[in-house]
Symmetry: C2
Subunit: 410 residues, 2 copies
C-alpha cells in the first residue's frame, strides 16, 4: 500500500512552500531546520484533523529561539547545536492546535542578539536581512511562507520586517505567552510575527490571544494619526528621513489628517534606558552560558556580558523608573491619537553580513510596551525597502491593527 497525500488545503500550501524553499533557500539561508518529508506529514495530519480554523493550512516558520518538542532548538548558538528541549513553547503548541502547519525552524542571530545568522536579504543577497528574526523575515520576503514567528527585545521584529519589506507585528508586551521561549530580558522580550499582509498578522494575533475587540475606521470616522521623530532619530540617515517625509506628504495629499507629535524630552532617555535594562538582564539571564560556556560565545555577545556586569541594581531600577514614567506620559499624549507613525529602521538594510543593523528607533517603543507594526512602504537610496512603524500605547493592539489596515489600503 502506498500513502497518498491528501489534496487538502494544508497539503497544497505546504507543497508550494516546499517548492519555493527548495528553489531559494540555498542562496538565502532562512532555515536552520527544515525537513520536507516531515512538513508533508504534518500537512497530511492537519488536513485530516482540521476542517477549517483561522490558521488552517497556513505554513508557519518558527524562529529558533522557540522550543520545539520534535525538532532541535539551538537558539542560534553553537553551544546548543542539536539541543532538544523536550517541550513545545506555548505558542508553538497553540499554532499546532490552530491548524497551522509548523514547517521548521528559521534562523536567528546568536541568542537573538547582534551576532548575525547566515541569512541573506532576499532583495539583495549582499545585504543583511536584519535581526534577530532574520530567517523569519527572509522566509516571508522570499515567498517561502505567509507567516513566521518573531520576538523583539530591542528591535528584532520591526527592523528585519523593515529591511526585508514584509509586515511585522509586535503586540503589547505580555499579550502572547513567552513560555518555552529563550529569555533575554523579562522587561523587554515580546512575542510577535512577520507576515505577508496585515490581514494574516491580525488573524494570527486574534486567534492566539483571543482578543476579539474589533476596531473599525471609516471615512466618517477615520483614524486619528500623528507622526513623530522616534527616540534614536539622530541615528537615521538623511535618505531615510527624506523617504519618510515624502510618505507623510503623500498621505496628506490623499486627504489624511496627520499631525506632528513632538515627544517630551524625557523620551530621549528611553534609548539608553532600554540598553541599560537589556545589558543588566541579559547578563543575569545568560548566567548558564557565560559561566559554563564562555568560549562558545561570540565576541559581540561577550561584550554584552561585560557591559551587563557593570550595571548596578540602582541603575537598572532607574531605567525601569524612566520607562514607567514615559509609559504613563505616552498613554496621556496618545489620548488624541490612535497611532503615531515613525520610521521602522534607521535606514535600509546595511551591506554585508557582519551586522544586522541598528535598533536605535525601536528600543524606546519596545520599552514602552505598546504594539508596533511595520508597514513596507518606503524605498531607500539603494533601492531597498524601509518600513513605516506604527506605534500606540500598551493594550491598544486592536486599534493599531485597524490603523495599519487603513494606511495599507490607502
Amino acid at each position: 500500500m502506498t500513502t497518498i497525500v491528501q489534496e487538502g488545503a494544508a497539503a497544497e500550501a505546504v507543497e508550494r512552500s516546499i517548492r519555493i524553499i527548495k528553489e531559494k533557500d540555498a542562496a538565502i539561508g532562512a532555515w536552520v531546520y527544515f525537513d520536507p518529508r516531515r512538513a508533508r506529514q504534518v500537512a497530511e495530519d492537519v488536513d485530516a484533523r482540521f476542517a477549517d480554523g483561522p490558521l488552517y493550512g497556513v505554513p508557519v516558520g518558527i524562529k529558533d529561539i522557540f522550543d520545539t518538542n520534535d525538532m532541535p532548538t539551538a537558539y542560534g548558538s553553537s553551544i546548543y547545536a542539536g539541543h532538544h528541549p523536550g517541550r513545545d513553547a506555548a505558542l508553538v503548541a497553540q499554532l499546532r492546535q490552530s491548524g497551522a502547519v509548523v514547517m521548521g525552524k528559521t534562523a536567528t542571530t546568536e541568542f537573538a542578539s547582534p551576532y548575525p545568522a547566515r541569512t541573506r536579504n532576499p532583495h539583495n543577497l549582499g545585504h543583511s536581512p536584519g535581526g534577530s528574526s532574520s530567517g523569519s523575515a527572509a522566509a516571508v520576503a522570499s515567498g517561502m511562507l505567509p507567516l513566521a514567528l518573531g520576538s523583539q527585545t530591542l528591535g528584532s521584529i520591526i527592523r528585519p520586517a523593515s529591511y526585508c519589506g514584509v509586515y511585522g507585528f509586535k503586540p503589547s508586551h505580555g499579550r502572547i505567552s513567552r513560555a518555552g521561549v529563550l529569555t533575554l530580558s523579562d522587561t523587554l522580550d515580546t512575542i510577535g510575527a512577520l507576515g505577508k499582509s496585515v490581514a494574516i498578522l491580525e488573524t494570527f494575533y486574534r486567534h492566539i490571544t483571543g482578543d476579539q475587540r474589533i476596531v473599525t475606521f471609516s471615512s466618517r470616522k477615520p483614524p486619528r494619526l500623528a507622526y513623530c521623530e522616534a527616540p534614536g532619530w539622530e541615528q537615521t540617515t538623511q535618505a531615510a528621513r527624506d523617504a519618510f517625509d515624502r510618505a507623510i506628504a503623500k498621505f496628506r495629499s490623499k486627504g489624511l489628517n496627520i499631525q506632528k507629535l513632538v515627544l517630551p524630552e524625557a523620551f530621549l532617555h528611553l534609548v539608553d534606558a532600554g540598553f541599560t535594562v537589556h545589558d543588566y538582564e541579559l547578563y543575569r539571564n545568560f548566567s548558564a552560558d557565560r559561566l559554563g560556556h564562555w568560549d562558545g560565545l561570540s565576541e559581540k555577545f561577550k561584550e554584552i556580558m561585560r557591559r551587563g556586569a557593570k550595571v548596578s541594581t540602582s541603575q537598572h531600577e532607574d531605567a525601569l523608573g524612566i520607562a514607567a514614567w514615559c509609559r504613563d506620559e505616552f498613554a496621556k499624549l496618545m489620548g488624541d491619537f490612535d497611532a503615531v507613525i515613525t520610521l521602522s529602521a534607521t535606514d535600509e538594510a546595511p551591506e554585508g553580513l557582519d551586522t544586522t543593523g541598528s535598533p536605535a528607533v525601536n528600543v524606546a517603543w519596545t520599552l514602552l510596551r505598546g504594539p508596533c507594526l511595520s508597514l513596507p512602504s518606503l524605498i531607500g537610496a539603494q533601492g531597498l525597502p524601509i518600513g513605516l512603524q506604527l506605534c500606540s500605547p500598551q493594550s491598544t493592539d486592536s486599534s493599531l491593527l485597524a490603523c495599519a489596515n487603513w494606511l495599507d489600503r490607502g
Copy 2:
C-alpha cells in the same frame, strides 16, 4: 588508588546534610532527586575550586521547577518524569559558581500549582508543608539544608515557610532571573529562597543580585513599622488572628512603635485580580500541556485551565490596571514606614496531604511586586508554626531585610 574525600568545609557540610537526609527523608519526602555520591563529588570539587565566597560550602536544594543540566527536572508532573531540559536555570548556574553545593531537586507541587507533592510537614507528619515550594520548606525545617530555592506565583514561598517554621524571602519581582524556570505567570512569578535564618537569605540575595545597598537600623534610628490586615484577611482563622495580635502586643511591650495601617478599600480587589491574572496567564503558558497532555494533568490543574479559558483579554487588562494603581498607592502609603507586618498564612498547616493550604493573604503582595519575608514567630491552636509576613514596596529589599533582622533579633 582510592579517592579520599577532602575534608574541606563543603565536604563536611554535605556529609552532615546527607546524614540528616538519610535519617529523615523516608518520612518527610522532601526530595525528588538526590544522589549522595554525586553530592559528595560536587562538594569535593567545590572544596578544590573555591577557597571562600559568600555561599562557599553551603548545601542548597533546588526546587524541581528550576532546570538543571545534570539532573532530571520534572516540574512536579508525571508528564515530565525523567525530563532533561539540557540547560541550567540562570540561578542554578549562579549558585554553582558561588561555591554553594547543589544537592539535588526538592519536591514541588504539580507545575508549582495546588496539586500537592508527597512531602510532609516535619513538625507533624500528618500535616501539609504548604506549597508549591514544599520540599524546599520541609528540607530546611528538618535541618537537611540551610538554604533551598523557591518560587512564588500566589503564595508559594511565604506560605510553606510559615507552615514549616522557617524563614522565607520573596525579593522584588524581577530581581532574580527566571531564565530556565518553569513559567506560570510572567506578571506574578517571583524567585526567592527558604532558609534557616535571615542572615543566609540576605547572603543569598546579595550575592545573586549584586545589590549591595545595605540599610542599618539602630536604637537611635529604629525601623518605622506598621501592621495591617492583609487583603484576604477574612480567610484567616480566629486562632491565627489572636496569635498575631499577641505578637504585635509583645513587640509593643518591648518598646517598639508599631502603628496600625489601614489599606485602602481598593486593595481588597487585589486578591481577585491576582487570581484573574493567574488563571489567564497559566491557561496560555501551559498550552503545550493542556493541548498535548490533558490526561496527564490533575483535576485541580484542569480546573485552573477551565477557569483560565473563560478570562477575557479585557478582564486580564483590568486586573493588571488594579495592580498598577495599588502599586503606586502602596509606595505612597509606605512613605512613612519601612515595613508592614501581617500574617504569612491564614492559619497553621492544614491537616492531611490533600491540600497545601490557602494563599489568600499572599496574593495581594505578590501582585504588588515588593519584597516579602516570613519570620517564624507564632504558634497556632494545634501547636504548629505560623509566620509573620513583612512586606514593603518594590525595590526596597535591603530595607525590608534590615527590618527582618531587627525584629528577629528583638
